[in-house]
């Protein structure tokens, strides 16, 4: 079993729901500095859950078949990504239990072709029975964009995808560096969780 101890380096930075007074969303992100990030050897990802107003950093805990599971420093919450796209969340309530995002991965790499492609989300209903949501997605914009992370400008290609079901329409955005690294992403997760923003900090 991998010791969770190495994750405690950033424990002091963790701001999770349950803290008595929750600071405004974005305050935690604004407080992250290069000096703080430099104290961490592992890959470090910023995660902001817009719908819940919760933010934290996460570090990789486990890798399985191309999916990385990242954990918050207190070990409470987890998020799993494939090629930088969120495929599951835990401890956020209306969690994304699993997802099939093969089409979105290709689109975010500019390999989509231009037509419609499917995207599937699995969540649990109030009786903990699985519910599946099948989106039809297409790329709505693809542009070069310089983004600033921790004061450093990074060249990226931004891909916006618009995904619809009979009941809703959501837009996800992915910013990839030339080497394929997902620098930033903004993805709709579920009704209860809303949008999750991820940002690669190192």
């Amino acid at each position: 079993m991998k010791p969770l101890a190495s994750l405690s380096a950033l424990a002091a930075l963790a701001l999770l729901a349950g803290c008595a007074a929750q600071p405004p969303f974005g305050a935690f992100r604004a407080g992250l500095t290069q000096e703080l990030v430099d104290t961490v050897d592992n890959p470090l990802l910023y995660v902001g859950v817009e719908g819940l107003g919760r933010e934290s950093t996460v570090q990789p805990l486990q890798e399985l078949d191309g999916v990385t599971t990242w954990r918050t420093p207190d070990g409470t919450s987890a998020i799993s990504t494939r090629d930088g796209l969120v495929v599951s969340t835990r401890s956020l309530g209306d969690d994304l239990m699993a997802a099939d995002i093969a089409g979105s991965v290709a689109a975010s790499k500019g390999q989509g072709g231009g037509g419609y492609y499917p995207r599937f989300h699995t969540t649990l209903d109030g009786l903990s029975q699985p519910e599946f949501e099948a989106f039809q997605c297409r790329v709505s914009a693809r542009t070069s964009e310089d983004i600033v992370i921790l004061g450093r400008a990074r060249a990226s290609v931004r891909t916006d995808e618009t995904c619809t079901t009979p009941g809703r329409e959501v837009t996800n955005s992915y910013w990839r560096a030339a080497d394929g690294t997902m620098l930033r992403a903004r993805q709709w997760i579920s009704e209860g969780v809303g949008v999750i923003i991820t940002e690669r900090l190192n």
Binding site: V67, A78, V87, G93, M97, T122, L124, S128
Partner: protein, 699 residues
């Protein structure tokens, strides 16, 4: 009848305007789908559970309603009427319990109204005895009209000859009620005697505000005069949505009184904390990354270090490691789930931890979920499946389909040091007593100390003492008028003694006499009123929805002071039981046998269970005790409700709040209260229950 025809024309004309759009069903003063005092033909969302408190003109009705099935609504009501009949019955204030059933016969269509039939005061004293047939149609998405025919009490305003007389002229006269003690359904009264018209209109003005006008067919002949002055059949109401599920209605009733109606509604299917805030589980670890040496498997201690470490990690997840053995490629792991509502969730978490803690040679996990030494099943999970399915879109079904849920193949094999075990708990307690006409609500509060010791697998010693701190249960001076052995009707005498009560002190042995068989023997002070010997045998195959049980007890009544002494009454009581669970969550239990007072009969319990732990149900017992001998209520019956605490709170716990709402406590049809009954212990780890909870396997 002309008026009815006019309404029918109105429905047809409106058909084109409506479509499928409607608005929320309101709760009337009886807690039923309706306007103000009158019902309509709608129903609540399936499984909707609500409490309605309605007051006007000296009448207060407190009603609990449950949407039992999508078209069937049931309501239980407690009514308080001031200055009832001017106090001629000896009491100024009348308390009455009543039960209603409302059945939607037809759904609303474009050109057809919804149609419903209902019966009020089905098995009560008959104060509200009435029946109705009602139609409701939405004219626009914001306006609906209802019209219906009432019988009995609902035919007291402008009644006319029963149109059902066309079918049989017997319908035209309503026989007098015959019950003296209440509790019997008087089927020969239903839909008989004069009928009368009622109806009205409901308008949803804004999202929060609505109003209703109705024409009532109830003239309140019992209440008119002493309780309030009836002046007009027209009622007017204004309804405001305070928040989701909470509504307040202010009304002007019967031309003389101002009324209020406050409603709280919730739905077991919609938890306030969606999904719960369960901490993230340990992720699946690929087999190749497990370092057996670092885990301690290579140490020369028979795996003790590695096992202890596994036990610690499981403990942090709320799972107790009862036993572990590795033979060839199979690890057999006995667990006790102390935290998670769904045992499937505990099994899923255990399996993930095992992927990180078992040496690479292990390819199969056999997880045995146990409750007090009894295992309802064993679940076989292939390690490769955990890796393959961890991030698969439909991994719930895939992992359930691949898991082998089978009968246990061997008895408990606890790891060294597991026994003896000891646990104690000091906690506050509340004990209410409801529906005594002298004081409808009484309550005791205090502190209780519970202790449990398990010297060996399946052997459980348990006891509890209570110290009352304050309360008024002892104020009940009602003297039992029961002609049966007083096995329950002198409960109030037990409340007057104390203050320190030994509530129970037992030794129980749980065992498995054979495949699909489970056994229990308990001796001691079984419950607050009886002590003795209790034994039980249950047949419940892992993959069966059917269970059969036998229970035999010999008990003696305990002394009033709740100490170690006994009174003279002793009896044999026992049952043969059938348990059945349908796929839609409904559970039935039929117990037939001999009850505490020596009466013979049967109890039918029907409950609707939800995968998140909610249960709502009712039971009734009929025995060879004649209704007159039984006394008030005629026979034993009640409503059962179980609320999972995690549902309300959002964080995981196995605690539940359970309540048995018994309108009247008498001596007929009384059973022992035994905490250690087998069915729940076994059934929760068998196929149906695991499947219902499997959605949380990966949570």
């Amino acid at each position: 009848m002309k008026r009815l025809a006019a309404i029918a024309v109105l429905f047809c004309a409106a058909g084109s305007a409506a479509g499928a759009e409607t608005f929320e069903t309101w709760r009337n003063n009886y807690g039923l789908p309706g306007l103000l005092d009158m019902p309509n033909a709608l129903s609540f969302p399936d499984a909707d559970l609500s409490v309605t408190d309605a007051y006007f003109g000296g009448t207060n009705r407190l009603t609990g309603s449950f949407q039992i099935l999508p078209r069937v609504t049931g309501s239980f009501r407690y009514t308080r009427i001031e200055n009832f009949r001017g106090g001629t019955t000896g009491r100024d204030t009348n308390y009455d319990r009543s039960f209603s059933l409302h059945l939607k016969l037809l759904e609303e269509r474009e050109y057809r109204p919804a149609l419903a039939v209902g019966v009020n005061d089905l098995i009560g004293t008959g104060l509200y005895a009435s029946e109705y047939l009602v139609a409701t149609k939405h004219l626009t998405p914001r306006v609906r009209v209802s019209g219906g025919l009432g019988w009995g009490r609902l035919a007291s305003n402008n009644g006319f000859t029963n149109p059902l007389g066309v079918l049989n002229e017997n319908f035209e006269t309503r026989p007098a009620r015959t019950t003296g003690v209440g509790g019997e359904a008087e089927f020969d009264q239903f839909f008989r005697g004069d009928a009368a018209f009622f109806g009205g209109i409901e308008v949803r003005a804004t999202d929060k505000l609505g109003f209703a006008v109705e024409y009532s067919s109830d003239v309140y002949s019992f209440e008119d005069g002493p309780t309030f002055d009836y002046r007009s059949p027209w009622n007017f109401g204004l309804r405001y949505a305070l928040r989701d599920g909470v509504n307040l209605t202010a009304s002007y009733m019967y031309g003389s009184e101002v009324g209020v109606n406050l409603t709280f509604a919730l739905n077991p299917k919609n938890p306030p904390y969606y999904g719960g805030g369960d901490a993230a589980p340990y992720p699946v670890t690929p087999r190749g990354e497990v370092d057996a040496e670092a885990l301690g498997w290579t140490l020369d201690d028979g795996g003790a270090t590695a096992t202890d470490q596994l036990a610690e990690v499981l403990e942090a997840e709320g799972i107790f490691l009862h036993g572990l053995s590795i033979q060839g490629g199979t690890a057999r792991v006995e667990i006790e789930n102390n935290r998670w509502r769904a045992n499937a969730q505990a099994i899923g978490r255990t399996a993930r931890i095992l992927t990180a803690s078992m040496p690479a040679s292990v390819d199969t996990f056999v997880i045995v979920p146990m409750v007090t030494g009894l295992a309802g099943s064993q679940v076989t999970i292939r390690r490769a499946d955990m890796e393959e399915l961890a991030f698969s879109l439909d991994n719930f079904w895939e992992s359930y389909a691949r898991a082998g849920i089978a009968p246990v193949t061997q008895g408990p094999a606890p790891r060294p040091g597991t026994y003896p075990r000891f646990e104690y708990d000091i906690s506050p307690y509340l004990q209410p007593s409801l529906f005594d006409p002298d004081a409808p609500v009484r309550l005791d509060a205090g502190v209780q100390l519970k202790a449990t010791a398990e010297p060996a697998p399946g052997v459980v010693l348990r006891g509890a003492v209570r110290q009352k701190v304050f309360g008024n249960l002892d104020e009940s001076t009602r003297v039992s008028n029961s002609v049966l052995p007083r096995v329950r009707s002198e409960t109030n005498i037990y409340e007057r003694t104390g203050p320190l009560d030994l509530t129970d002190l037992t030794a129980t042995y749980f065992f498995k006499p054979g495949r699909d068989l489970y056994g229990r023997v308990t001796v001691g002070y079984l419950e607050r009123h009886f002590g003795g010997v209790s034994s039980e045998l249950l047949w419940k195959p892992v993959d069966s929805s059917l269970g059969l049980g036998l229970e035999a007890n010999y008990v003696k009544q305990r002394a009033f002071d709740q100490g170690f002494e006994f009174r003279d009454y002793e009896t044999a009581t026992g049952f043969a039981s059938v348990y059945y669970e349908w796929d839609n969550g409904f559970e039935a239990q039929l117990d037939a046998g001999r009850y505490l007072a020596g009466d013979w009969g049967a109890t039918l319990t029907l409950q609707r269970g939800f995968a998140n732990g909610w249960k709502v149900g009712a039971y009734a017992t009929l025995t060879d005790v004649p209704f007159e001998e039984f006394g008030e209520g005629s026979f034993d019956k009640g409503i059962l409700i179980t609320i999972p605490i995690d549902w309300a709170r959002g964080d995981p716990t196995r605690q539940t709040f359970g309540y048995n709402l018994k309108p009247i406590l008498r001596d007929g049809g009384a059973r022992l209260t035994i905490r250690d009954r087998l069915y729940q212990r076994v059934n929760q780890n068998q196929r149906d229950a695991l499947r219902n909870g499997w959605g949380r396997f990966w949570k």
